[in-house]
């Protein structure tokens, strides 16, 4: 545990609460204290500055209600508040079509569901270190 993750601020955009719970648990085992759950991209943008003025990492599901992950990513990238934020796709859709799209969309990482519990902490750390991680499951 070279890095202290206690002050890391993470947003998890996920419509399935159990999957959010799993990710949150895994993050907390890593020492992350500030984790917020949003059911949609819209909720991310509406998220109060006061509650989390800076976001370090967003784990973004692709299949979302209302807007899909790509639209959310585009809007997040336009917002100056998320300029330094690492945005990682976490999705069960590993079709070639989706992979290609994700690669060109500009994600900082791609984690396939089901996520590998054993590999997850390391993958997150590598992403935070600036490495682009693609785990196709």
């Amino acid at each position: 545990m070279a890095r202290d993750l206690r002050n890391l601020r993470v947003l998890i955009v996920e419509d399935n609460v159990r999957n959010y719970a799993l990710l949150a648990r895994l993050l907390s085992f890593m020492g992350v204290k500030q984790t917020e759950w949003k059911r949609s991209g819209w909720h991310v943008l509406e998220f109060a500055r006061e509650a989390m003025p800076q976001v370090d990492l967003i784990l973004l599901d692709i299949h979302l209600p209302e807007e899909d992950g790509y639209e959310v990513l585009t809007r997040l990238r336009k917002d100056e508040r998320f300029q330094g934020t690492k945005i990682v796709a976490v999705t069960a859709d590993i079709t070639g079509q989706n992979l290609t799209r994700a690669q060109t969309a500009g994600f900082d990482g791609f984690l396939a569901k089901p996520i590998d519990v054993d590999l997850f902490p390391d993958q997150i750390r590598r992403i935070l270190d600036g490495e682009v991680v693609w785990d196709l499951g």
Binding site: L22, L26, F29, A92, G96, K113, P114, I115, V117, G137
Partner: protein, 797 residues
Amino acid sequence: MAQQAVESSSANNPPQITPHPVHSLGMRGGLGKTLLVAFLLLTIVPLSLLAFLTYNQIQQDTGRKLVASLEAMAALKEAYLVDRIEGYERELTLLASKLEESGNLTAELETLLGLDPALTELVLVDGKTGAVLARSGISGQESRVFESLGTAGQGLVMMAGDRPMLAVRHSWDDRQLVGLVGWDALREIIVDHDLPDGGATSLVLEGGWVLSTEGLNLLSPGGEEADSEGIAHLLQGEIGSGAYVNQVGVPVYGAYRWNPELGVGILAEESQSRAQAAGNALTALIVGMTLAVALVTSALAAVVTRRVTRPIVQLTEKAAWMARGDLDQRVMISRTDEIGVLARAFNRMAAELRVLYDNLEAKVAERTQQLEAANEQTQVYLIQLATSAEVARVATSIRDLDVLLATVVTLIDQSFELLHTSIYLLNEGGEWATVVASRDQSGGEDSRSVPVPDRVKGEGRAVIDRVVTDGRRRVVRAVPHSNGQGGSEQEKQLQPAVVCEMAVPLKVKDRVLGVLLLQSGRVDDFYDGQQVVYQSLSDQISIAIENARAYTAERETVERLRELDRIQSQFLTNMSHALRTPLNTIIGFSRVLLKELDGPLNEVQRDDLDAIYDSGRQLLGLINDMLELSHLELGVAPFAPSDVDLAETISGVMATARALARGKAVQLYEEVPSDLPAVYTDGQRVRQVILALLTNAVKFTADGSIYLRVAVDDGQVTISVRDTGVGMPREERERILADVLPDEAESGQTRPGFGLAISKRVVERLGGRIWVDSVEGSGSTFSFTLPIGRPGDQGTS
């Protein structure tokens, strides 16, 4: 058919018989000339021969006669000469008796001379000495000649200087009286007009002197040679006659007679030309006669020839005219002889020929008509054939039924020039016949449905009902309601009337699909031969309809299947996603528990959680396989070929496989050639296949060895995985790669999957082949090939 066409084309142009004028046949010159020449030769040649022979005979006779007369003349002259000489001798005797030998002998002699005027001189010669005793009236110069008279025994005639003289002697006692007869008396003897005109008598003396009326000539000074044959004979003392050239170069007949007593030759000659003058006149007469006869003969021959040849020439000319096709020629000869018979026979023959020819022309005309009809029929057949071929072509090239039928209807309507052509098709239940394509000569199209009530009761189109009912074609003549099925009264009047129609069933086997209805304005349409053609066309259309329908059905099926595939793919994708979401939780949390992040676990709890986690992973594997299979089936699975180093790929796979085999008594061996070329393929996919085969081998080999072998051969690389495991029966071997079946799990030890099914599809996508060899109980060998070169490379197919 082609032969008919050829015959008919020649029949269209019967050979024109054009009589050409007969300008010259060359017959008049031929036969006439021959006859004339023959006539003339037959008359003139014998006549000429006869004339020649006659002339010859005359010539010979004339010569002979002349010679005889000349001989007689010569004899006569000799006799006359002798007679005259004897007369002179008698006179001399008389004178001698009067000689008295008085003193003056000379005077006495002159007196005596005066008594006989024929004598010019008298000489008295001494008989013993020969000396001249006396003489009368002679000049001194001449006396020398006479001096030799008594001494030399000269001939009777002698030369006195340049003048000949005839010496006549009378001897008595020792005296001799010589009387000389002068030139004039001699000349009187020679000149004799008894000879024919031009004839001449000469005296030839010894020494070559020739005494003729023209004078005295010395033939030859030597006297030994003579130019004239007659003189030569005379000088030799001969008597005879002959034809020769005389001394002045004139051809003559001559008679010669030498009198040795007198020492004188008589030569009677007549010029041959003179002698022949008479013969020439006769010859001229004969030639003239001959010519006259020839002329008359020629004229006669010409007349006869003409009389004989004219009818023959006429016949010949007429025959030539006839030969050139003018059979109306007749010969105008009214004779009773053979030529008349010939002419009548000719006329009869010409008349018969005329009749025969007329018959022939009639036959030719008839045959021509037949050929034209056949030709027309051939044209129709050709159109029908062409239409059939076109319909066949359309039937195979157009798949859209409506377009097909519209094209066919237009084709038939235009090819056969019909008034109206339409195709009715029955609906599925067979209750309705609907016009699906229609065409009339105005180009208009018609489309409406015709009810088929009770199949019989249709008004106007009852024929369609009946054809649909029994499937037999029908021809209706005198169509009651003319002109199609529509249009205003005005339109109906503008269109030509339909006089007959034909309804042909469109059948496939015994099933009636519809009806082809044809309407024509020609009375002679739709008879036997044409019916067959239309039936054949209908059969083609029927097949085309069936094909088009089958094609449509097939196309719809394909589209439906494609849609089904798309739906299936989407379904699987959605399903995969939907299944992964709960699996995420199951696998994730069971793993969290197993890692004892939530607290320590006892043995039983750990085993239970293991089962949950393991099953979750299996389920995930199955979902992945399913998704991949469907993507491979649909051809949407991504492939990324590049130049792949197979050796590297294999060493990586072998490491993974060894990890899989950990804990089993299985040894893995690899045999890879060192000079393995780079293979243009998808390395990840190849890795996937090799791993699947190795996984399968490990799965079915509890204890033994697994060999991976790579071989390069003929542009492809073969990778085989052999195990010493349980093997498989033949039936399983056959279906293990063919069917999409989950790999059988061995009593829960390994996870079931679709590895082999996926491998088969992947290998095929990579352009290779996969197969299995196996003996039950002694292991299996899975092999697959990969092409080395890029697709399209030379020599690596």
